[in-house]
């Protein structure tokens, strides 16, 4: 299946009839996708509403350009926010990298024990909600195994979460 067919196939199930440039980035290289989109526009199979915004011609007739552009702007914003959130979530802070390497060198991995469930319940009962990430888990594991002092653990937890806030 060529890129044009894949673009049309990805557009077919969309109820809003909109195709954003971001939607096509996994279908081929940027230049290949550009050529395919231009060809589809020239063939009248899709209509270009604005830079990076395309729609099914039938939807443009039905809803009008303005309404579609409004929806497209909203969807683009949501996609951007989601992407940013994912990048923040997945990004390794310098502290996280250090902790990961240390745990690997020391042969320490995190295995949940009763204390983790207990601590979660106590924290919830205190009216707080804390979600530990994998770096926190590794720091706890390193401390439990005696490879790190509790004081160093606290310093690294604080540094890691300060790094995350700065990302």
């Amino acid at each position: 299946m060529d890129i044009k067919s894949r673009i049309l196939q990805s557009l077919r199930p969309r109820k809003d009839g909109l195709l954003l440039r971001q939607d096509t980035k996994f279908l081929g290289s940027p230049s290949q996708v550009s050529v395919a989109l231009r060809s589809l526009v020239d063939g009248g199979l899709i209509e270009k509403l604005d830079r990076g915004i395309y729609a099914k011609p039938a939807k443009v007739m039905q809803l009008g350009r303005e309404a579609l552009l409004k929806t497209a702007t909203l969807r683009a914003k949501n996609l951007r926010d989601e992407c940013l959130h994912r990048r923040r979530h997945n990004r390794l802070t310098p502290t996280a990298r250090y902790v990961r390497n240390l745990a690997k060198n020391e042969g320490v991995g995190f295995h949940p024990i009763y204390a983790d469930r207990w601590a979660r319940s106590v924290t919830n009962l205190a009216g707080d909600e804390v979600k530990s990430d994998s770096t926190d888990d590794l720091l706890v594991a390193l401390t439990r195994s005696g490879k790190m002092t509790p004081k160093d653990m606290v310093a690294l937890v604080i540094k890691h979460h300060n790094d995350l806030k700065r990302v």
Partner: protein
């Protein structure tokens, strides 16, 4: 803001070891420290023949001393002659705490008292 020491601006929340002021980060640090130290605190309690007030303070020290250097110390030592207020609640005075705790521990020593 809960600031019984009255020096949040210069020394962070409750004089924590990192001088951190962000409460969200402090909550996480407390939680992770509790997770890491809980097995040690329970091992300590398991070897106590009787649990008394000094043991109670020791558990607090084991759990939180890496974050709060004053933990495990009696409030009379840490905050003498100062009443502690948090939101709508005023903590009972240290004198009453000591009396009640000692009574509680005396009751604990009595066999089957809690059953």
């Amino acid at each position: 803001m809960f600031d019984p020491f009255g020096d949040y601006d210069s020394r962070g929340y409750l004089r924590n070891t990192a001088g951190e002021k962000d409460l969200e980060i402090i909550k996480i640090a407390e939680h992770e420290l509790f997770r890491a130290q809980l097995p040690i605190a329970l091992d300590f309690l398991a070897q106590c023949k009787r649990i008394d007030y000094p043991d109670f303070l020791e558990v607090h020290r084991i759990l939180f001393s890496a974050l709060y250097p004053w933990s495990g110390k009696d409030r009379n030592t840490v905050l003498p002659a100062r009443s502690v207020v948090r939101e709508r609640f005023t903590f009972v005075t240290q004198k009453i705490v000591n009396v009640r705790l000692r009574k509680g521990f005396r009751l604990l020593k009595t066999k089957n008292k809690w059953q």
